[in-house]
Symmetry: C2
Subunit: 174 residues, 2 copies
């Protein structure tokens, strides 16, 4: 068993910290990016369409097709964050949110967790005041999961992992 | 179309850079972690066992069960990196390495790419001098893919994504 980590923050901004982690028995520190947990939602409507979003991603410097996702903000549970993100990004709500998986987004570098949820029978919100998050295009996806997973635009490995969990647990067919 | 990004390195070490990306039409920079591309390998031996590795992960501060993985070092192709990692971490080689997918490991924060390979009929190296990488335990996995994906120790979302690609392309059964 390793002794408890000794941590030093080497960079901090409002989005994340870079933390140098070491222990008494290690020689060099390991640099870890600490940020809020991630949440993502595999959501279907009653027609069986997947609810997706398309947005510009600065790290790719192009748009990406993804499942709805975001951070677990302080004070939120992962499920509350999932409900909020689905509503903000797609204008949809669902009665039941089922936790599919809790994983590490990157065991080499990221210190947060990824919570994957499944929501069936998602419906448009009845709130007439609701406005979709700006800069995000809502997409109802009618193709197969296999086609989606093999399209270059659906490139987030984390969202492939969420779809896989849904498939394994019998929520989606390939 | 966004104008080309303007980049400023705000932190650099031998493993990665934190880069602030902005464009003439954006107000705030986006902070991106730039590092070498990742490679991971879904490898099976002739008995149908998956070749896995168990190692201590400083960001988790515990061990993690994963598929073999690593960086694409400068001068390597992704396939060369995959061959090198499989050999170093499991002592196995394979004739054919098939590219399963090229994805973004995290469209929100990571600026590199993840290359997932499949190798069937992996065999122990005949090199009598070969030594496994220290600190890594080689594991021949005999269970089902569904059991593996639902075990808490196999927690790397990136490696779930690689398994999913192998399943979709008919290389593995759930």
């Amino acid at each position: 068993m390793k002794s408890d980590p000794i941590e030093e923050v080497v960079l901090a901004n409002r989005w994340f910290q870079i933390v140098a982690r070491s222990s008494l028995d290690s020689t060099a520190p390991h640099y870890c990016l600490k940020t809020l947990d991630y949440v993502c939602i595999v959501a279907k409507n009653s027609a069986g369409e997947l609810l997706l979003v398309r947005q510009f991603r600065p790290v790719l410097w192009q748009t990406s097709l993804e499942i709805p996702s975001g951070h677990v903000e302080p004070g939120q549970t992962p499920e509350q964050a999932a409900r909020a993100e689905l509503l903000e990004e797609t204008g949809h709500e669902a009665e039941h949110f089922e936790l599919l998986a809790n994983m590490s987004p990157d065991t080499g570098r990221l210190g947060n967790r990824l919570w994957c949820f499944f929501a069936a029978n998602a419906v448009p919100t009845r709130d007439p005041e609701h406005q979709l998050e700006s800069g995000i295009e809502f997409v109802r996806y009618r193709g197969t999961v296999a086609e989606l997973a093999q399209s270059t635009e659906f490139c987030s490995a984390l969202h492939h992992a969420a779809l896989f969990a849904a498939v394994i647990q019998g929520k989606l067919k390939i």
